[in-house]
């Protein structure tokens, strides 16, 4: 799950980025409108958190431009202008959600999670695959009723695979969605994390849920 955070306030951006990363999201940041626009073209983001008052190009014009260009990412407007009119205007221009500054970090994270769910047409925050239960809200994973502890990155990988269950996800897709712009690890790190995940999820259980499609990628067995 990859998120673009377009926010010109360095400290705010840093805090939000860290919060999102701790949720297992890969976060790219942009400090002004132009940078945001540029980055949005370079990758597919699940969610874009967009400040309205931005240097260079303001958030609303970016939003208009992106929606016109057919961008599918969910967009959460983050702004100091919290009046009803501003919210209505933002949502009518194609935003999916709106959050006024100052905000609770947890609320922002919850909204981002909701947007991610929506992106995968999942209403239930708990993804169930066979006897595996992934609670995207509480960040807990159970298999056969047994709690399994995952690192944020493992969790993110599992969540990504689970959202795409029944479909093959390539390494590059995983790479693209789970690692931000600053990660410079090579792509076999994906294989490493898959192995960690299998160790925790499939090792003591039957049947194995994480399958390898040789030459293509990985997938979680669909029902």
């Amino acid at each position: 799950m990859k998120i673009l955070l377009v926010e010109d306030h360095r400290l705010l951006a840093r805090a939000v980025k860290q919060g999102l990363e701790e949720e297992g999201f890969a976060v790219d940041t942009a400090a002004n409108g132009e940078e945001g626009d540029f980055k949005s073209r370079g990758a597919t983001y699940d969610v874009i958190i967009l400040d309205i008052m931005l240097p260079m190009e303001d958030g609303l014009s970016l939003l208009k431009k992106w929606r016109k260009a057919g961008m599918q990412s969910h967009i959460l407007l983050l702004t100091a202008m919290g009046s009803m009119e501003d919210k209505v205007r933002g949502l009518d221009l194609g935003a999916d959600d709106y959050l006024a500054k100052p905000f609770e970090l947890e609320e922002l994270l919850a909204r981002v999670r909701a947007l991610v769910r929506r992106g995968h047409h999942a209403k239930d925050p708990v993804i169930r695959v066979h006897d595996l239960e992934i609670d995207t809200g509480a960040h807990s994973v159970r298999r056969g009723g047994k709690e399994i502890y995952l690192t944020p990155r493992e969790f993110a990988l599992l969540r990504f695979l689970a959202y795409h269950r029944g479909k093959v996800v390539t390494r590059s897709m995983i790479w693209e969605h789970l690692y931000d712009e600053h990660d410079d690890n090579t792509s076999n790190v994906v294989d490493v994390y898959i192995r960690y995940l299998r160790n925790k999820i499939d090792k003591n259980f039957k049947p194995p849920l994480i399958l390898t499609r040789w030459g293509e990628g990985y997938m979680i067995k669909g029902d």
């Binding site: 400290l11 202008m81 500054k101």
Partner: protein
Amino acid sequence: MRSIRFSLAVFFISLLGISFGAASVLAYRIAWKNSDDRRIAREELEESRLKDRYREETNRLDDALLFQAQTLARLVQFQTDWGKLRYLELQALGLLSAPFSPHGAASIPLWAIQSSRTFSFEIYRRAVPLIRFNQEDLLERLDGQVAEFFQVETAWGASYLSQSLGKNKMLAELPKIPTDEVLHWDFEDYELENGKQVRRVILKASQFLIGAPQRNRNNPPFGGAQRPGDQNPPRNNPRPPTGGQPNTPPFFRPAITIQCAYDLSRREAQFEQFAKESEVEIGNFQSEIAGSLRDFRNRLFLMNLGVFAVGVVVSPWIVGAGLSPLRNLTAAVSKVNEKDFHLDINQSRLPKEIQPIAARLEQTLGQLKKAFAREKQATADISHELRTPLAAMLATFDLGLRKNRSVEEYRELLKECRQSCKQLHQEVERLLTLARLDAGADPLRLCSFDLSTLVHECAQLIQPLADQNGYRLVCDLKPDVALHSDPDKIREVILNFLHNAIHYNRPQGSITLSMRTAEGKAVVGVSDTGIGISEQEKGLIFERFYRVDPSRHAAEGGHSGLGLAIVKGYAELLQATLEVDSIPNEGSTFRLILNGPIELEQQAQVPASVA
């Protein structure tokens, strides 16, 4: 609340009333004058008519009097035994024949005595019977009886006085009758001895006058052919109609004088009657005129009333129609609200009296719109500037509280919180400064100070920051310039310039701080080698929240775009001028030009060198 419509309607009606009233008064006056003229003319006419009537009446009475006198004369003639009077002729014959007859000469003196008139008349008086009239008979026989008084005198001495005269004999100075006239008469007013005023005619038949009655039958001597003319009394008789000498020698007859008179009071009564009639006539005419004037006045009054009524009914409409552009303007203005400042009116179709109002209104609305937009923008900016660091702080706290972290992590988060807090504090301070400036609550605190020292202090203050960023700070200060102003505000302005110079400089750039005096002004300039300001932006940089390159905001922590707005406010307060020179991507120079510096060269030289 006064209504224009009402006032205008009242003016309109008043004007209508006044003009119609004035016209009516004028018309009435003309009519009045006209009828007065008519009245005067009528009175004059009436007067002359009255005079005519008097004259006619007098003439009529005179004619009647004359006629009666003539009748009387005839009566006298009838009563006279003319045969006896022939002796008078014989007398003359006797006198003539006396020289030729025997003893005739002796009788000449006798004849001569006899020939003398007095003597003869005495004889005639005795010889000719006295004239007697029966009073009643006489009055009966006179047609159209006018005369009351009759007096007959004859050449031979016989006379008659009517009883009405009594002893009051009328005396008359008889005019000499021209020889060719048969009859002669005169009219005159006369006063009797008893004081009675009468009108009389004196008719005299001359001595030779009366021809033989038998021969003159067709032309009676006293006939109506000799009607008097229209002359006013006293009148002289006209030329006799006989046209000169009678063709037969007149038969001698002695003169008869007849006077007929009537009491003038009788005529006066008639005159009074006439005057009364005339007065009645004039009175009628006057009342007729007064009536028509009254009618005219009433009609004018009614007309005015009508006009007034029509004015009252119609004027609100007319005025309303005239005021319709104003109403349109009002409607357009009432449509204006804080969301739509457009004045929905076609200005070119407004009357020229209202156009300036509409134009001004539109202009003001435009300014208001801008002000509203600015206000809105300012609100948005302020919320952004305050909420963003607040949000950062909150987010950082939230992050810290999410889970247990290492001490280093907490330290890092706390540092970030402090940074956000500091930024928030600066922002609040700037906003408060601006608010104080707006409210005029930031007065100048004037004192005399050395500007050179102040600028130098600023340079010292900024030096560490410049060093930290790797910029070279160059100072070019004229020493010992004293100023009487507010040093704190000037310092604030210079520091602001310097901060901007650091903020917008390019790496390894330089900053030049200069101070000099020229033309009685002190100029403090700060130049940088930064990004510069484009020509369009020059007017905007002093606007609140405007940033030349906002992308660097917040990242450096501290430049919200209020600094130059505060500088502008301070400069206005200091009555100083701000100047900006800039070449984009090469650098900018900001100058603060202060009035009234005093150079302290001489006085300050000594302490400066001592120091």
